[in-house]
Symmetry: C2
Subunit: 299 residues, 2 copies
């Protein structure tokens, strides 16, 4: 579904953490009529004022108790290390029928620590809308950020089909496709496809000398582009998903060792085989096709 | 110098291996009036016919003896494993005043094995014009491929200043900037800035599963883009520059180990430091500045 919804899905959507993602969700909800009202909860009143002024929010709060009172659907868009606390702070004050979800790029710990809420009211179910840009802040909020993007949703066996359907409809209302995934498998998968590429890009960048910069071309630039990502953000993500990331780093190390050994043995055949295998996989990602994750992933 | 030369620098330029690079050199020489004539030497008569038909060459040869007779300036643009043999095949038949150079992306072995020609006539001096695209074949020849690009030239102490000046003028005539570099340092530097990024990109691509492809975003795409490079070409380059590439792979592996250890120790501070260091280096490559090597390096 990429056109606006026929009638609002939710009464009042509460965005916790009105940054790039939270601001874009607010913007998309309004543009697409997904809810009747959009309100925001944050820590910095002047930032909230600016977000309201920009037309993103109908109301703003710095007190979770007040924010929760009228919220029927909550999306927590704060850094992954704060999501659990932010959810717990709202719970006692939310209407019973409220659904709480998040936008965190790691899921396992969040889902595990909030698992008690799966079959309670209000309820919590984890989401990871895979969208973003290399920008930061609600000033860059984009109602179209989620169009055709993929949202992974990570229910447990305790979640009801109604809860899952409700959160899926929300993200679909923003123009996303949705897919259910086990939280642990989510973190392992994203370690391989998103988190470790950052580590690899950074390791590559750190492996040249400053005097080498003149002699770099687009190959180096492409391989290290995402190393320019926000260091605080990525420290947080890597600390949250340490085990899965380390497992995947070990895989990359093994691959590098295969290349190294082929060269040590002067084994052109094996070298070619490794390169051809990589090319074959990479060729499956057409540059011209707008896939569900073709924006820079950004939390 | 980026405008055409005032008068031809050379009488007859002979291109050996009329592919993307050789074809582009031919095209640039003609467009910019660098020589009076451009002729080509290759192994496939039908391909040479097509290159002539396309207007790239004034004459074509499959016999090095015949090709050499009227050549005053030679650029050998064949794969790096063939360059030495191709140079030797021409030498006895070239005019004494002829200068032979190449376009190979590795230099040490080529320069070492042809070192006897440094102070002889005809002479050989190594070049590496750092330019390219991800295309192949003379059909994609581009007279502008070398504009503002960097050409590394690798003379030995035996080369005369006249020889070096002559080959520099040639590449500058194509619109390149030139820089002299020791051949061994060239290979070590390019290992870090160009060859190992390919290995790293391929290792990253080989580290995900096919079922992961749906969950990749621009981060993975950017980091693995150059893994789509031609497997034969890169096998050749890596085999030629094995020692320097292995040294640089070891550096990348050390960097990955630093990340791994920081995570194992839950050391967010160290993790942030590694990421910030990488960001700091990568930020020095502005995306908006057309540097001397901003095309995909391609040989």
């Amino acid at each position: 579904m990429t056109s606006p919804v026929a009638s609002p899905l939710e009464e009042t959507v509460l965005i916790v953490g009105v940054g790039l993602i939270g601001g874009s969700i607010a913007s998309a909800v309004r543009a697409r009529g997904v809810a009747r009202r959009v309100i925001g909860l944050g820590r910095d009143q002047s930032r909230l004022n600016a977000a309201v002024y920009r037309g993103l929010l109908d109301a703003d709060f710095t007190d979770p108790v007040e924010a929760a009172k009228s919220a029927t659907f909550v999306v927590v868009c704060t850094p992954v290390t704060r999501i659990i606390d932010d959810v717990r702070a709202l719970l006692p004050h939310l209407p019973k029928s409220a659904l709480v979800t998040d936008a965190g790029s790691t899921k396992q710990r969040i889902v595990a620590e909030l698992a008690d809420l799966a079959d309670q009211q209000p309820t919590f179910v984890g989401s990871h809308p895979i969208a973003g840009s290399d920008k930061q802040g609600f000033e860059h909020a984009d109602a179209n950020l989620f169009l055709h993007r993929l949202c992974l949703i990570t229910p447990t066996v305790q979640h009801s089909t109604e809860t899952v359907a409700r959160v899926e409809r929300f993200w679909q209302g923003l123009g996303m496709t949705t897919q259910l995934m086990d939280a642990a498998i989510h973190d392992e998968t994203l370690a391989r496809t998103s988190h470790v590429p950052h580590v690899v890009a950074a390791a590559m960048a750190n492996s040249i000398r400053e005097t080498d910069l003149t002699f770099t071309g687009t190959g180096f630039r492409d391989t290290t582009r995402i190393a320019a990502g926000d260091a605080d953000l990525w420290t947080t993500i890597l600390m949250e998903n340490t085990n899965a990331v380390r497992t995947s780093i070990a895989t990359v190390q093994e691959q590098l060792a295969l290349f190294d050994r082929a060269m040590a043995n002067g084994d052109a055949k094996q070298l070619r085989s490794l390169l051809a295998s990589a090319k074959s996989l990479r060729d499956q990602l057409s540059e011209n096709v707008e896939g569900p994750m073709t924006n820079v992933e950004r939390d």
